[in-house]
């Protein structure tokens, strides 16, 4: 068992979490930061000015950090799973249209005026999940030729359906009046919804989805040999595939439902982990999860600071880093099947 990759990635995640809490439009001295966190855990009361600082930390920065962390973990983990499942270095939740499908589902749910209660909030991730799942099934069956799923078909079908879903999403947003602003910010990956509500809402979905993915490393390893060999080695292929697909879509849907569509994290992070620490999915999945969280936190910090006080949508930051990387992967995948 190699410990070092986990140490590096966890250290990266820890640092990004600290910076994410410490950095913001209001400067809070590091000493106060520590005191507030300890006090928050002990449920102590503060006097001014610590009281305001405390509110900023515990009710704004902490929940936001938690939501970004969970989203990044979901994107990194499900990206690794999709790449393994489709045996395709270019697959990620965004490319094969799952995120767009989830987005469509979420906007559909938002266009219905749910009461602003806990269950009203729960309806959005549920709809995003259904949208994601339907997209997977649709793209999968469109790309399928006989028993094989050719890479090109998969990406073409995914991109095509993704554009369709995005167009439909835009149309729905233009038609609905009230929730429009919320929907636009949401779609660009601005997780501007404050408070702990969203975090608690996505948590069960992510716990199940990512939990199942973490158990699927060995099955994904076997699937790299192709379905036939995997079955000959004793893997119940259909069951394993379905389970992984459901788990990855659940995680994607949960991430997308509160944080919007954030591309490229699910593509970049698993590739870097694979290049650095090897192709074993039992290691790759947890590492992608941890580093996905760290990478998105880093992108979020950049998005908050480069144009402060204005905020960039985090999707723009990940794309600016992601596109060059994506092109590089594309070249690499063409030159050698060494991923």
């Amino acid at each position: 068992m190699m410990i070092r990759p986990y140490l590096y990635t966890l250290l990266f995640l820890f640092l990004t979490v600290v910076f994410s809490i410490a950095i913001g439009s209001v400067f809070i001295p590091p000493a106060d930061l520590g005191r507030i966190l300890i006090g928050w855990l002990n449920k102590a009361a503060f006097s001014e000015p610590l009281k305001t600082f405390s509110f900023i930390i515990t009710d704004i920065r902490l929940p936001r950090t938690a939501l970004v962390l969970l989203t990044g973990a979901a994107l990194g983990g499900s990206g690794a799973a999709y790449q393994g499942l489709f045996r395709n270095p270019l697959a990620d939740p965004y490319l094969i249209g799952v995120a767009s499908g989830a987005g469509l589902g979420a906007v559909l749910a938002m266009s219905i005026k749910w009461p602003y209660s806990f269950w009203g909030l729960m309806a959005v991730p549920a709809a995003a999940f259904i949208g994601a799942l339907l997209t997977v099934v649709l793209v999968y069956s469109l790309a399928r030729i006989g028993k094989t799923i050719p890479t090109t078909n998969l990406i073409l079908a995914g991109v095509a359906f993704g554009s369709f879903a995005t167009a439909l999403t835009t149309y729905l947003m233009l038609r609905s009046t009230g929730e429009l602003h919320r929907a636009i910010t949401w779609l660009n990956g601005g997780s501007s919804q404050a408070g702990w509500g969203p975090v608690l809402t996505v948590l069960p979905y992510l716990a199940i989805g990512l939990g199942l993915l973490l158990l699927s490393g060995h099955a994904l390893n076997l699937l790299q040999f192709g379905d036939e060999q995997a079955q000959q080695m004793g893997l119940p292929v259909t069951r394993a595939r379905t389970l992984i697909l459901l788990a990855a879509s659940l995680a994607t849907a949960a991430a997308v439902s509160f944080s919007g569509i954030i591309g490229f994290i699910g593509l970049i992070v698993p590739h870097v982990m694979r290049l650095w620490f090897g192709a074993d999915y039992r290691r790759l999945l947890p590492l992608s999860l941890i580093s996905g969280a760290g990478a998105l936190l880093l992108a979020d910090i950049i998005a908050r600071t480069v144009m402060a006080p204005q905020e960039l949508p985090v999707g723009i930051v990940t794309a600016l880093v992601g596109v060059p990387f994506f092109l590089w992967v594309l070249r690499r995948a063409k030159n050698q099947g060494y991923w």
Binding site: G217, N221, L222, Q229, Q231, G234, P236
Partner: protein
């Protein structure tokens, strides 16, 4: 022992295998020969359970002592009684040899694939048997065709099954590796009492390293028996549409098939 009874397979409207029956005894290597498109690979895949049968039964007496239909088993149970060495095609290049061979232990592991010390010992032994232990740390993508084929054999051996199916394992190997690969396979069959079925193209390699030969033409078994019984000029020239001569091997007690030119053959 592996026994196949009246096995038929169709792809859509096309009959690929018709009433194939054969038996492979423990400790024996049976060569499955036949021209391209005769259905050799399909037969191997059908026996391993990855394509549906139209009809037929596949029996083994290893599982419970009495005869068991392999297709009624779960994929895990089947993978405990039967391992496949696929055609040297797609192996994920990024895994190491050691990781690849350990994956052969899958039917004996839990869903997480946690390996014990004894699993590692079995994998190491499998690598030793094919003389590839020194490749352990290498990535599969860096290996030559011959080395990859030995790794696939080691992976199948690590499955610890009494039955072994090999699909054209020597097709991509040079002369030296062809001979040493088949020597390894026939030695393993005898020593570990395995029932081995090898689909192959090289008739002379089949004659030298297998105890019996089954000739498959157009999805039907045309002949089965010792190499001397099956590798006759009549049977081979009709099956392959090529005149052949068969002469005694200069230093082994087996036939040697020498192909002629591709003139049309008259059916006697």
């Amino acid at each position: 022992m592996l026994r196949i009874e009246n096995l038929s397979v169709s792809f859509g409207m096309r009959r690929v295998l018709t009433d194939v029956s054969l038996e492979v005894n423990s400790g024996e290597v049976l060569a499955l020969i036949g021209p391209n498109g005769a259905g050799k690979s399909t037969l191997v895949r059908a026996i391993s359970g990855v394509i549906p049968l139209e009809k037929g039964r596949i029996h083994s007496d290893y599982v419970s002592g009495s005869s068991v239909n392999l297709l009624s088993l779960s994929s895990v149970q089947r993978a405990r009684s039967l391992a496949v060495v696929p055609q040297a095609a797609s192996m994920p290049p990024a895994f190491t040899v050691w990781e690849t061979v350990l994956m052969g232990r899958t039917p004996w592991l839990n869903f997480l694939g946690q390996v014990s010390a004894s699993d590692e010992a079995i994998a190491r032994l499998a690598l030793q048997k094919v003389d590839a232990l020194d490749l352990s740390a290498r990535r599969v993508g860096e290996l030559s065709g011959g080395e990859q084929q030995r790794v696939l054999l080691a992976r199948a051996l690590a499955q610890s099954t009494p039955i072994l199916l090999l699909d054209e394992p020597t097709s991509n190997l040079d002369l030296h590796y062809q001979v040493s690969f088949m020597e390894t396979v026939s030695a393993l069959a005898r020593r570990d009492n395995l029932a081995v079925l090898v689909a192959m193209h090289d008739l002379n390699l089949a004659a030298r390293y297998t105890s019996r030969v089954a000739l498959l033409v157009d999805g039907k078994i045309k002949a089965m028996g010792t190499p001397l019984q099956v590798l006759t000029p009549e049977l081979i020239s009709i099956a392959y549409h090529l005149p052949v001569q068969v002469i005694p091997h200069p230093f082994a007690d087996v036939p040697l098939v020498i192909p002629g030119n591709t003139a049309p053959v008259k059916t006697p």
